[in-house]
Subunit: 225 residues, 2 copies
Amino acid sequence: MTRVLVVDDDPRLQRTLAIALRAHGHEVVTAGDGRTAVQSVLEDAPDVVILDLGLPDLDGTEVLRRLRTGSAVPVIVLSARHESDDKIEALDLGADDYVTKPFGVEELLARVRAALRRGGPQGQHLEPMTTDHFRLDFAERRATVAGADVRLTPTEWRLLEALCREPGHLVSQQDLLRAVWGPSYGRESNYLRVYANQLRRKLELDPANPRHLVTEPGLGYRFTP
Amino acid sequence: MTRVLVVDDDPRLQRTLAIALRAHGHEVVTAGDGRTAVQSVLEDAPDVVILDLGLPDLDGTEVLRRLRTGSAVPVIVLSARHESDDKIEALDLGADDYVTKPFGVEELLARVRAALRRGGPQGQHLEPMTTDHFRLDFAERRATVAGADVRLTPTEWRLLEALCREPGHLVSQQDLLRAVWGPSYGRESNYLRVYANQLRRKLELDPANPRHLVTEPGLGYRFTP
DNA sequence: CGGCCCCGTCAAGATCGCGTCAAGAGGCGT
DNA sequence: ACGCCTCTTGACGCGATCTTGACGGGGCCG
């Protein structure tokens, strides 16, 4: 079951979309303004967000920006305007797709399916992972290393999740960047180096000789429990 | 999943295109200059290339020429100019299609689909290969010899892949050089000697008397599992 | 038997990618 | 408004990897 967050200030449209989405097997949560939307992304962990620009409380681009600092969830933007300026701005900020009103429900559903294919399931949290040295509980956002609690920042958690989705397998730099920083980041591998080391410092017994988070030069990283 | 290489020096346009393409189910890799583009074609094996003329380092037609000597991937050329000279020149050099800026995203997507229909998919990874002595997993970039993990460098992997594409068959020096070092390397067989031996040292039981990686003097190498 | 070609080997310099650090900006809570 | 935490971004050193040239040996042919 995939979860879709619908953000729109028009209750009519909210209901229309909700019915259509549920009819196609999606679970639906709704938000009427930007702040609620940001909160819902963090709490409900939807698999995809449908975001109407032109909300009462926040600028649409501001909502996008805030979402992006806390999650890499795919976002489909709705807009009544036709100006391509908006379009480019929204896409620059990390939207995955863009639909101008009026639109057909079928079209939107197709784009939701496309976004889900791309992003993979987000909402399902991973199983807790335990080794002799540390324990990671993704649902609770709790990390214990050598018996003591360790604080991980949101970005560190997202990187860790992307790595742990396939434990022991090589994950490419591009995949990691996309999973953590959104679809717009192709090659800026400096982020990865900084945060991979941050994770090593917090999780590894000997950060200089990592046993779990291993780098594959030129390709990506591998996380083995 | 089809892979599209976007070559443009404008990061904005890069991202816009990348997002639009991903929204339609394509995987995207990007390059900001000509040299990176040529390299990416060899390494990432995209199914179609979108190439902006007017790159910082190389003339657009030069990029096309280099691509064409190493790959038959379909290329869609973007250009801000309207002069038909460029158009004819580009098409002569092997571009498959030509779009002048400004263009609609939908139009470009349609041409990408058309190019994909024409070209068909290109690259994927080889199956893991196992013998009594070693095991090679190309997708995971993992090599195990006599039970122990062995690290292979990127170049070693590329050479091994070229050899294993036709196990037990003779692969000519030219083919190997082109597959690993690119289309410009016709006869620098020194590379091959160095890396073939590197591989023997890491994979063979007795590197002095190779049983798997056999050299055919004057012709090339043969890899038998 | 001698010369030649081709391969294996080695080593040194150049280059690349990664780990590391730190300064600065911006958000958030107090 | 202030301070703390986090994220971003650039610079730098180091080790691994790649490149390049040189040298020696073995097989083949004249």
